[in-house]
């Protein structure tokens, strides 16, 4: 073990210096090189390097590397089947990775059994012991630690009030609502003061209102206890509101790691762009400096240093496209102008989404804020102008 570790250290040490500046926005392909010495830093709670797992010929996780800071709230986000739950179970010790390492506080825990990892875990299904009362459920881990009865009572009492479960101590899981059950599961996981809290889609089984409320409570609790937390979710809004950083996964790989702001506004791949929010993705080829030729038209945007002829994909967020009256078209080099017709209007509450087809046959989704919405102007079959700022267009090389 020691020999193995020092070998790894020497390989990685050289890259350590680069880390702080880029940390957070790095793409998966860069991550393995960026991971710091897993044993050195005191603030790095959890370091995962090159983790892989497959069942037969099905690859579940492929070369996963990332780090989690002490006290951080990280969300594993991705579509179902992307491997995020398996990754969480690997952290818990409930699944064994085929290769790669997991370090916690500088210690290798890759193959340590769950009982030795000091983690609390909460599942989507609550997984409360059905035959035990709320009190006994919360006290379960403390009894395992052979705490004195009065100390347990005190600790459980504290958690009961922390999670507003007063008056439910003697009830059974079947007598509680989903939200209450999930609170009990949280209290049970927190009772033993784990150094790492793992949440496997804890909110997915709840109805929308309860979900939003408990979401806020989980965030408050995490901030108050400063407990390092990893949560798995497929709900991008949930991840954006809860996480300090999001690990966005697809098909067993990490697509991007970053803050919610970075993930939404600086997506590293078309997949990320498409997964986070609504997007218009357009195929094109770089035709000149700062110009991309699409099917029957060209768009001006920042082509960076990509040579002419590079195949690219352009991301246009619906909220970055403005609809203007055809008579009112601005002329400016930083703005793209397109003629279009509205084919469908959807009322989504705070925004109205217009589906438009441009004169060149391009279909786009355009969001109009409620305040700007004008029924006289924004009607179906209305001919309008589209304006897109050049620096609102994001470009991905294919």
């Amino acid at each position: 073990m020691t020999a193995k570790l020092s070998q790894r250290n020497s390989v990685i040490a050289a890259d350590t210096a680069r880390l702080p500046a880029e940390q957070g926005s790095s793409r998966n392909s860069d991550v393995s090189a960026l991971v710091s010495d897993p044993k050195s830093s005191s603030t790095r709670k959890l370091v995962v390097t090159n983790l892989s797992k497959s069942f037969g010929s099905t690859v579940i996780l492929k070369d996963i590397s990332f780090e989690i800071e002490e006290g951080e709230f990280v969300c594993f986000l991705g579509p179902s089947g992307c491997g995020k739950t398996t990754l969480l179970l690997c952290l818990a010790g409930l699944e064994s990775p085929d290769s790669g390492e997991i370090y916690k506080n500088g210690q290798v825990i890759t193959m340590a059994p769950p009982s030795q990892r000091d983690v609390g875990i909460v599942f989507q299904s609550y997984a409360l012991f059905p035959n035990l009362s709320v009190y006994d459920n919360i006290a379960f881990g403390l009894v395992n630690l052979k705490w004195a009865k009065d100390k347990i009572r005190e600790a459980v009492g504290g958690l009961v009030s922390l999670l507003s479960l007063e008056g439910h101590e003697n009830k059974y899981a079947s007598q509680l609502s989903g939200g209450q059950q999930q609170r009990v599961a949280l209290a049970r996981a927190l009772a033993v003061s784990p150094s790492l809290l793992l949440l496997d889609e804890p909110l997915s089984a709840l109805d929308a209102q309860v979900r939003t409320r408990l979401r806020g409570e989980i965030r408050d609790l995490q901030q108050r206890l400063k407990i390092t937390t990893v949560m798995v979710t497929h709900d991008q809004e949930e991840a954006q509101t809860l996480a300090d950083r999001i690990v966005l996964m697809n098909a067993g790989r990490i697509e991007q790691i970053g803050t919610p702001w970075q993930i939404y506004n600086e997506p590293a791949t078309p997949f990320v762009a498409d997964f986070m929010g609504v997007s218009n993705l357009i195929q094109g080829v770089v035709s000149a400096q700062d110009e991309v030729a699409c099917d029957h038209f060209a768009l001006r945007c920042n082509t960076q240093d990509h040579p002419v002829g590079t195949k690219v994909q352009l991301l246009l967020r619906p909220e970055d496209i403005a609809l203007v009256a055809p008579t009112n078209m601005p002329e400016h080099s930083s703005v793209n102008l397109l003629q279009a017709i509205i084919v469908k209007i959807e009322y989504l509450g705070a925004v109205v989404r217009a589906h438009v087809v441009s004169a060149t046959g391009l279909t786009l989704k355009v969001d109009i804020s409620k305040r700007d919405f004008d029924p006289a102007l924004h009607g179906v079959s209305q001919a309008l102008g589209l304006t897109i700022q050049t620096n609102d267009i994001r470009l991905f090389v294919q």
């Binding site: 070998q7 409930l94 290769s99 790669g100 599942f123 997984a127 035990l132 881990g141 395992n144």
Partner: protein, 571 residues
């Protein structure tokens, strides 16, 4: 060399293949699994193997290849019994399945009154030893029977008697299977059919039938194989009509011809295994017909339909009651049919080698088998369910635990007899004792309670186990604090099932008792052989009363225990 491969190699030494995280409990489960595999080897594979080898030997123990089989197929009388067995089992299944279907349909799809009463009635035959049903039929339809004219002069002894008694015997199995099948249909399918203006016949053809055809197939297979392999009924009421099971008994007990007994056993075993495999296939196809989101069917009243099915259920009830009543009456009548005054004389069992001791042996054996059996079966199901790290081991064990379902009791009994008397077998001392009866009974009955335990364990969320692990819970605490309390109801059911079956079991023990351990079910056969049918009925009635009493006690105690230990269920 990369770190990953070093890591993989290091852990791979212990687990073969991919590295696996092994919790202390995982090691424990693994070794218990291995122990169960060894036990299954000793109690199933080796005995049946010994039986098979014996069928390839001659009386002097010399290997003769397939000589015995050639003799078997050359002896037309012996091969006829194979066809006879097939005939009675197919005829029985053809009669029982529609009977049970109509009965279950009445219970689930109509608004007839007294449903829970009729549901209980359907299960009464489970409490009656098969032999007693045959005896009751003799009193009803035999040469001196009450209703002998009903057979228009056809003899009861033979196929008619076997089919008649088998129909009553297998009726509860078929009803239970049909109840499950008919329960699993989505009300919304009927609503959709009604909205589309579908005729009753088309609705039956396209909604009702597809949802229960696997159940019907399963019931047919289960009934066929039960009758095909049954011994007691054919022994009592078969007369000169030979079937495979009675042939084995005659060869082994009558002529001490173990080799031919083994050959016939193999002839009994092969169809039983084929049916078992077929049934597993059917069962695996049945999944996902009815999902958690389906809406259970609730029937609407319909006077004529409810009346017809009520009539049918009453008819079946009268038949079952008259059989049971006749058996009770027969055991009390002084001298049928000439002196109908009542007496308890038949309960004194003044017959050589038979007595109340057999009854207490049965009680003792059933208690042991039920108690040890429940414990062993539960732990077995627990490790099968928890062996998440050893998928190969788990699959093997699961298959071994379902195997007893495929092995007829008579075959298992003969296999034990041959295996345990193999010179040099260290378990030879078990022969003639109570232990071998308990072992053979538990093995014979293993599969059904195993499945019951598995279902109960699956009721506990897999993730609950994960939570237990992350909270550093010991196996013992998890088991006693969570798993056992949750599975308590299933355990009580398993105990009851084992007890009832062990009380009435005959085929698995007929070759294995000694004069000290002779069971009541065996005594019934012996008394019947001496011609004192009333005493045989009396002995069998004792079994019925014990079963009835235990069934009632279970009902009362289970409710109390469950209220005390499973308060979360009542609320």
């Amino acid at each position: 060399m990369s770190t990953q491969s070093l890591n993989a190699a290091g852990v791979g030494l212990f687990t073969r293949g991919k590295p696996q995280i092994m919790e202390r409990s995982d090691w424990l489960v693994r070794w218990v699994c291995v122990a169960y595999c060894v036990a299954a080897l000793c109690t199933i594979i080796l005995p049946v193997g010994a039986l098979f080898l014996r069928s390839l030997n001659n009386a002097n123990g010399a290997y003769v290849g397939l000589q015995n089989y050639l003799t078997y197929f050359g002896t037309s009388a012996l091969f006829d019994s194979f066809l006879n067995s097939l005939l009675v089992s197919l005829v029985t299944a053809t009669i029982v399945v529609p009977m049970a279907f109509a009965y279950a349909y009445g219970l689930l799809r109509t608004c007839m009154p007294c449903k829970s009463f009729f549901r209980g009635v359907a299960l009464i035959p489970l409490l009656i030893p098969g032999v007693l049903k045959a005896i009751a039929l003799v009193y009803l339809f035999g040469n001196q029977g009450l209703l002998r004219e009903w057979l228009f002069g056809h003899p009861l002894y033979g196929p008619i008697g076997i089919v008649g008694a088998s129909v009553i015997w297998t009726f509860p199995f078929a009803v239970l299977i049909m109840l499950t099948a008919l329960q699993h249909v989505d009300q919304r399918l009927y609503q959709a059919a009604a909205v589309l203006k579908t005729s009753a016949w088309r609705t039956f053809l396209h909604v009702t039938w597809p949802s229960c055809r696997y159940g019907v197939t399963t019931a047919f297979l289960v009934v066929t194989v039960s009758v095909f392999t049954d011994f007691g009924i054919a022994k009592v009421i078969g007369g000169d009509f030979r079937v495979l099971a009675t042939d084995i008994y005659k060869e082994v007990v009558g002529q001490q011809n173990f080799e031919m007994g083994a050959v016939i056993s193999v002839m009994l075993l092969i169809p039983a295994i084929l049916v078992f495999l077929l049934e597993r296939r059917v069962a695996s196809k049945q999944v996902a017909q009815f999902t958690g989101r389906s809406l259970p069917y609730t029937p609407k009243p319909s006077a004529w339909r409810d009346g017809v099915f009520l009539g049918w259920c009453i008819a079946v009830t009268v038949f079952i009651a008259s059989v049971l009543g006749m058996a009770q009456f027969a055991s009390l009548v002084k001298f049928w049919p000439y002196n109908l005054s009542l007496t308890f004389a038949h309960y004194s069992f003044e017959i050589e080698g038979v007595g109340w001791m057999n009854f207490s042996n049965s009680l003792w054996m059933a208690t042991l088998a039920a108690s040890f059996g429940t414990l062993i079966i539960f732990i077995g199901a627990y490790v099968v369910e928890k062996a998440r790290r050893d998928l190969g081991l788990r699959k093997t064990l699961q298959m071994l635990m379902l195997l007893p379902m495929a092995i007829p009791g008579l075959v298992l009994g003969l296999a034990y007899l041959i295996f345990i008397n193999t010179p040099g077998n260290p378990a030879g001392w078990l022969y003639g004792g109570m232990a071998i009866l308990v072992i053979s009974t538990v093995t014979h009955l293993y599969s059904v309670p195993h499945l019951t335990c598995l279902t109960a364990l699956k009721g506990l969320d897999r993730e609950i186990e994960s939570v237990g692990l992350s909270l550093n819970t010991s196996v013992a605490r998890m088991l006693t604090q969570v798993t056992l309390p949750v599975c308590l109801a299933a355990l009580l059911d398993v105990w009851l099932y084992m007890f009832l079956c062990a009380m009435t079991t005959l085929s698995a023990v007929i070759f294995l008792y000694s004069s000290d351990t002779k069971l009541a079910s065996v005594a019934v056969i012996h008394i019947d052989e001496t011609g004192r049918v009333a005493s045989a009925a009396a002995m069998a009635m004792l079994l019925v009363y014990v079963c009835l009493a235990v069934r009632l006690a279970h009902h009362l105690i289970a409710q109390k225990i469950l209220r005390k230990f499973q308060p979360w269920r009542t609320s």
